[in-house]
């Protein structure tokens, strides 16, 4: 089959979009490991219990660390409290946003919705547009021109990836996006995945977010203190590092334009604190293959299907060591990627589906 080589166009309305639609990569049928319906039904079952427990711990830790930070404000003793507060606000909000956006964290819908809205605010994300962008991310995971959530594009912008750890990019991109949305303006890319009937909701949500930021600024001016901003908004700068540390590993360095999550998604074994912050999203292949399974059931799902998946990276350190040389090679040769080996018990990758799009696989 002839292979057309072209530079990747990551816009959602460009040449790569057209090609993805024409070649059937967009909205394609993806590979799934076979799991009996009865077993899958058990894994999919929803329960409020685990998420209520975790959310009580989460909110108590947020309020406790904030209280400590406020109490010790003006002395160095506030630093460890804001270190914890920052990670809870700036990083753990991402996994709460994610799970509650899927509606899998709690069984009760309104509980998912409340946590989703709070977490969206903490992340400087428009809760409406991001809900739709994430649906697209699951339809067309790492399909160039279709997926709105590709964190590291090719060739990789390593400076940008490094800056993401500081949260500066949220102020460069996310905040202006919220402002633009608040003025009633959705970009062509946003309009490509947010249905017209939902677009007004994105504007309303953005106005709420901007309104809260303005109130925090007003309070800071009134008190003549940075403290309100250290509590609201600025945690993105000092607390999003863990979100980026864990989140970058989801797909970085792996294949794009394929229809098998085993090729473009990574599962990484992590320590229990990171797993609490990340709500088990380290089981990311499993999550993408079966997004109906709640976070608390992902370890069970992993045990059930691991015979069919590449072996997980045993640590974040291991994963980054694996990724780094791939990124360096991609600087010169953007088609290069890491093709992870399957165990002998796995069903092989379907080369017939991928030969058009992955001509330069590196193993």
């Amino acid at each position: 089959m002839a292979t057309v080589k072209m530079k990747r166009d990551y816009s959602l309305v460009g040449e790569s979009t057209r090609i993805a639609i024409e070649t059937g990569l967009a909205s394609a049928e993806w590979y799934h490991t076979d799991v009996p319906r009865k077993t899958m039904k058990e894994l999919m079952q929803r329960s409020d219990g685990p998420a209520i427990r975790d959310t009580i711990i989460w909110i108590a830790a947020i309020l406790g660390s904030a209280a400590g930070g406020i109490w010790f404000w003006g002395s160095w003793w506030c630093v460890p409290f804001f270190f914890v507060y920052g990670v809870l606000y700036g990083s753990s909000s991402d996994s709460r946003w994610h799970e509650c956006g899927h509606g899998t964290a709690f069984r009760t819908r309104w509980m998912n919705d409340v946590v989703y809205q709070i977490a969206s605010f903490m992340l400087m994300r428009n809760p409406v547009t991001w809900r739709w962008s994430h649906a697209r991310h699951h339809t067309d995971t790492i399909i160039v021109g279709r997926d709105a959530e590709i964190a590291v594009m090719r060739p990789p912008d390593l400076l940008r990836a490094a800056l993401a750890f500081t949260g500066v990019l949220d102020y460069r991109y996310s905040l202006p996006t919220l402002l633009r949305n608040a003025f009633g303006n959705l970009s062509p890319g946003e309009k490509s995945f947010v249905p017209e009937m939902e677009q007004h909701k994105a504007v309303i949500a953005a106005r709420w977010h901007i309104g809260i930021y303005l109130a925090a600024i007003a309070l800071a001016l009134y008190l003549w203190s940075f403290l309100p901003l250290v509590l609201i908004g600025l945690p993105r700068l000092y607390g999003s590092w863990h979100m980026v540390l864990t989140g970058l590993l989801q797909h970085i360095g792996l294949a794009d334009n394929v229809t098998d999550h085993r090729l473009n998604t990574r599962t990484v074994t992590m320590n229990p604190i990171s797993r609490f912050i990340y709500w088990n999203m380290n089981y990311h292949v499993e999550h993408h293959m079966f997004p109906m399974v709640p976070y608390h059931a992902l370890p069970k799902l992993h045990e059930l299907i691991k015979h069919d998946l590449p072996e997980p990276n045993p640590s974040m350190w291991h994963a980054y060591r694996e990724v780094w040389p791939v990124l360096i090679k991609q600087l010169q040769y953007e088609d290069y990627f890491l093709k992870r080996e399957l165990p002998p018990t796995a069903r092989p990758y379907r080369d017939e589906f991928h030969e058009l799009t992955v001509p330069a696989a590196a193993e």
């Binding site: 909205s27 039904k41 929803r46 819908r109 409406v128 649906a135 339809t139 109906m292």
Partner: protein, 104 residues
Amino acid sequence: MAGWVEACGVDDVEEEDVIRFDHGGRTFAIYRSPDDEFFATDGYCTHEKSHLADGLVMDDIIECPKHNGRFNYKTGAAKGAPVCVNLKTYPVRVEAGKVMIQVG
């Protein structure tokens, strides 16, 4: 009566579950509610082409396996993003242990 077809036996669907039924080039989803009533809808999610029969039934809700869009399978009502378009429902009756749906 016009348009009635046998979809499955009553025992083919567990309580609070759903199965797929293909007929005449179309796909349907057959539900059995927790209170032992049967319902039928189109088989594909209205958001994207995904089989609802692979989804999760909770009370009177079917959740799509692809993006977790939720519908009330009794009325077909879409319950919020990412589903905005209601699901088409079909009349169902049970006769002699068989689930019949009116597809016409």
